[in-house]
Amino acid sequence: MNENETPRAAELLTPEQLKQAAFDWGLTPYEYERILEGLGRQPTLTEIAMFSVEWCEHCGYPKSRNVLGMLPNTSASVEVLVGADSGGFYLTPDLAVVMKVESHNHPSQVEPYQGAATGVGGIIRDIFTCGARPVAAGNSLRFGSLSDPYTRHLLRGVVKGVGDYGNSIGVPTLAGEVSFNASYTGNCLVNAMAVGIAPTDRLLSAAARGAGNPVLYAGSRTGRDGIGGCSVLASHEFGEGEEKRPTVQIGDPFTEKRLIEACLEAATTGWIVAMKDMGAAGVTCTTSEMSAEGGMGMRIDLQRIPRRESGMQPYEVLMSESQERMLMVVARGHEDDVIRLFGRWELSAVVIGEVTDDGILTVLDGGEEVAALPAQFLTTPPRYDLPYERPAYLSEKWAYDLSAVPEPESYGEALLTLIGSPNLCSRQWVTEQYDHTVQANTVQGPGGDAGIIRVREAAPLGVAVTMDGSSRLVYLDPYEGARLLVAEAARNLACVGAEPKIVTDGLNFGNPDKPDRYYQFREAVRGIADACREFELAVISGNVSFYNESPEGPIHPTPIIGMLGVVPDVNRTASIGFRADGDRVILVGASGCPGSLAGSEYLAVLHGVEAGRPLSVSVSDEKRVQCVVRDMVRSGLAVTAHDLSEGGLAVALAECAIRGRRGARIRLPDVASAEALFGEAPSRVIATVAADRISEAAAQLATAGVPWVDLGEVGGDQLSIEGTLEVGVDELEARWEQTIPSVMSP
C-alpha cells in the first residue's frame, strides 16, 4: 500500500487488488469468499483490514475454538464469574477474583524488551478492564539453550521488559518459571499472567448497551506501531523472510499505571456501561466485540481518535496495536464527567461515537463512511476442524529402553550436575528483577511451590497462584503430559496449603495446519480438560498461540497452566526450606516408581536424551496425596512441604536443604538407583514434621490411605543419603546459585 494515497484512492482498488490485500493480511481464499457471501458485496479495503484481524487466530480462534470446547468452564466447587472480559470466580459473596494468561511469543522473539513489556501491559489491562485491581502477576519464559548467546540476549531483554513494566505499575510478580530447551531456539515463549480482585458490585462488563450511549476512547494516542501484530506476526512461522520488527508495539507503563487508577475510579461511579482494553487488533477488536457482545452496533468517527502521527490511513488506525488505550461505553449525559475524571489522572478521553441498535459497526473517516459491517458477522470467523495425525516420532520415543540407562559413577556428582543445570538451578537472577513485595500483601514470593498473597479485604483469607509449563512430557505424550501438568500445578498449590479453584491455560503450539502439530494441540487440550474435570477445576480463561516454529522446527508443544487456589488463613501455610534440626523428613506418596525416568531432567541432562513413555497420573491417588498434604499444612503438622517434580526426590531434598540452609540424614526405602533418586513419578511430596508429632502424622496419613515413608531427619550441614551420596549444603548451594549469574552477569 502506498502511504501517499488518499483514503478515497485506497478504497478505489480493483477487486483483484482488494483480494490481494486480503491475502497479504493473512485471510485465506476460503475466508475471502465467506466475506463476499456474508456481505453480499465487495468489501472496502478498510473492511478487509478489519476482517483480517478479527478472523486471525489471536482474536477469533478459528482454528482452536472447536477443540477448546472440550475444556470445562464451570465446576461444582466454584461459583464462576459470568460476563466479565477475563474469567474468574467469587472468592466471597462480595469479592471476585479474575485471572488470565496471554502469550507474547512472536513479539518477544523479535524485540525481547518491548515484546515482553507489552505482554505484561496487555494482560494487566485485561484485568482492570473488568474493574478489578491487579494484585499479582506471573510469567512463564522458555528459551533455547542457555549456552547460546542469542538465548542470553533474549533472556536479558525479556526479564528486563517484564520487570520494568510490572515494577512500574506496582503489581507483585509472584509466580512463574524459566525453562531452557533447544526446541525454543528460534522461537522463545513469553506467557504473562495476571490476577485481579474486585468488589463484586464494581465489576464491569464488556458488552455495549443502550442505543445513543456515547463511546469514549481513553489513554494513549494511536500510532502505526503494532499494525498486523496479531494477524501477520503471530500467525506465521518465523523464517518466512520478512522484517517484522515494526509490528512490535512499544509500552508505556507510566500511562498504564494512571489508566489503572482512572479506570478503577471510574468503575466506582456507575457511569461506565462497558469497558474493554485495546490489545490485539485495537480499535477494530474493541468496537466490534463490545457491539457483538451487547447485540448492538456502533457508529464511530476515526478522525476523532487522537493520533501520534499524521497521514494514517483508516485501516492503519483500525489495526494499530498502540498500547495503553481503552474503549468505554458511558451512560449518556455522563461523558463530560468521565472525561474530567480521566483528566484528573492526566489522561485524555474523547467521545468517538455512539452505540446504535442496528447491529452494524459503522466507521466514518470524517464525513466519509469507510466501513459498515454487521458486528456479529465480523466477530464470528469460520471454525475449522483441521486434520490431525499422530506424530511419527512417538512410537520411536516410547520404545526407548529405560533399563539400558547406565547408573552414574557417582550419585553425588550426578546430583550436583542436576542442581546446577539450567532448568533446575536458582532463578534468583531472574526473580530479583521483579518487585514481589509491592502492595504489602505478599506472604510467599517466587522461589517456592506457589506464590501466596493475603486478600486484605477478607483477611486472613489469601490466594495462592502457580504457573507451570510442560514441554518434554507433553512432547513425549501430549495427552498424559498435559494431565501430569495439571496434577503438578494442583500439587504445588496443595504444598502451600491451598485448595485449587480456577485455571487459565496458555496453549503454545506449532503450525496448526500441519497435522502432527494439530494432534499435539488436540491431545494436550483433551488432557487438560480431563484432568481439570477430575480435579473439579474450572478453566475460566486462556490463550492460544500457534505457529511457534522456526527454520529449525517446531517448539515442543507447551501448554502453560496458571492455577489459583484459596488459602483460608495465610498464617497457616508451608514453604520449601527445612525449618529445624530434628524434624522428620517424610515422603508422602509412592516410593520406587518404575519407568519414572521417562522424559526426566536426569535423562536430558546426564544423557542428552529426551525419550521414554511418560507415566500416567492417577488423579484419585494424586487427590488423596494433595488432600492430606493440604490438611497437614493447614493444621501446622507439616512445616515444610515441597512437591516432587523435575529432578525427582534427590533434587527436591537438595532444594529443601538449600532453602532451609540445613542438611538432612536420609535413608532410602529402596536400593539406590538413578530411578529412585531422580525419577519423576507424580503424586509425591516431601514434608517435614516435628519429631514429637510424627505419630500424629502417621495416623493422619493412614486414615487418608496414602502410602508414605519416614526418610530420616533434618540436621547437619550435609545432605546425606545413606550409602548413596553425601554432599555439603554449601556445595549444593554454590552449584545451584552460580549457573545463570555466571553467564549473565558482568
Binding site: N167, S168, F254, E432, Q433, T437, Q439, A440, N441
Partner: protein, 242 residues
Amino acid sequence: MSALPPLNWGVVVFPGTNCEIETVYVLKELLGQDARTVWHRETDLSEFDGLILAGGFAHGDYLRAGAVARFSPVMDSISRFAADGGAVVGICNGFQVLVEAGLLPGAMLHNRSRRFLSRWVNLRAEASSSPLLSGLTPGEVFRVPAAHGEGCFFADPDVLAEMTANGQIAFRYCGEDGAVTDTANPNGSLECIAGVTNAGGNVLALMPHPERAAEAVLGGDDGRRILESIIRGARPRLARAA
C-alpha cells in the same frame, strides 16, 4: 512503651507513585494514625503533622528517578513544610524525589548491577541526630524489603564528611549480624548508605520499604519499629505552630 501519638499524615502521590495504598493502610490500620493521599497538584498541606513520599515511579521516572517530580506543584509546599520543621519522609522513590528536589544531600545512581533489585535486606541504624530515629538504638538491625533500580547513593567527599559529622547517616546496609560489608551492599551505595536525613533531622529518607515489613505474616515486622520511631519523633502541627 506508651501509645503512639495520633498524628495526621499526608501520603504524597505523583502520577506513577505505586506504594500509596499500602502506606496509608499501614499508617491507619496498624499504627492508629490518620492518613490520606495527597495528589501532586495539591498545595495546602496545613492539615498534616507529617508527610510521606511513597514509593513508585513518579512521572514514570523517565528522565531520571525523581527528576520531573521536583517540578510538581506540591513540591514548593513540601519544601516549606520541611523548612517549618515538619517531618518529611521519603521511601524508595520518595528518597529519589527528595534528593532531586534538594531537600536531602547527595545523588542517586543506577544500581551497580544495572538491574532492578527486589530482595529482603538488613539495615543497621546509625548514630543519628534525627528525632525521627530517636526510637532506634544505633547498631540495631532491621530486616526489610528493598525494590529499586536506582538506589545507589552517592555524595561528594566533602558532602559525605559533613553528613557523617552531623549524624545525617540514618541507615547502612549490613549483614544479619550488623556487619557493614560490601557483600551486604545490594546496589553499590557509597559506604553502604541506605538512608539519610537533612541537617535538621526532620527530613528522612531510605531506599528499602519499612511499610512492607509491618506484619509478621508478610515475612517480618521490623519495618514497623522504624515507622513507630518516625511517628514518635515527628513534631506535630500544633507544636510547630506554637
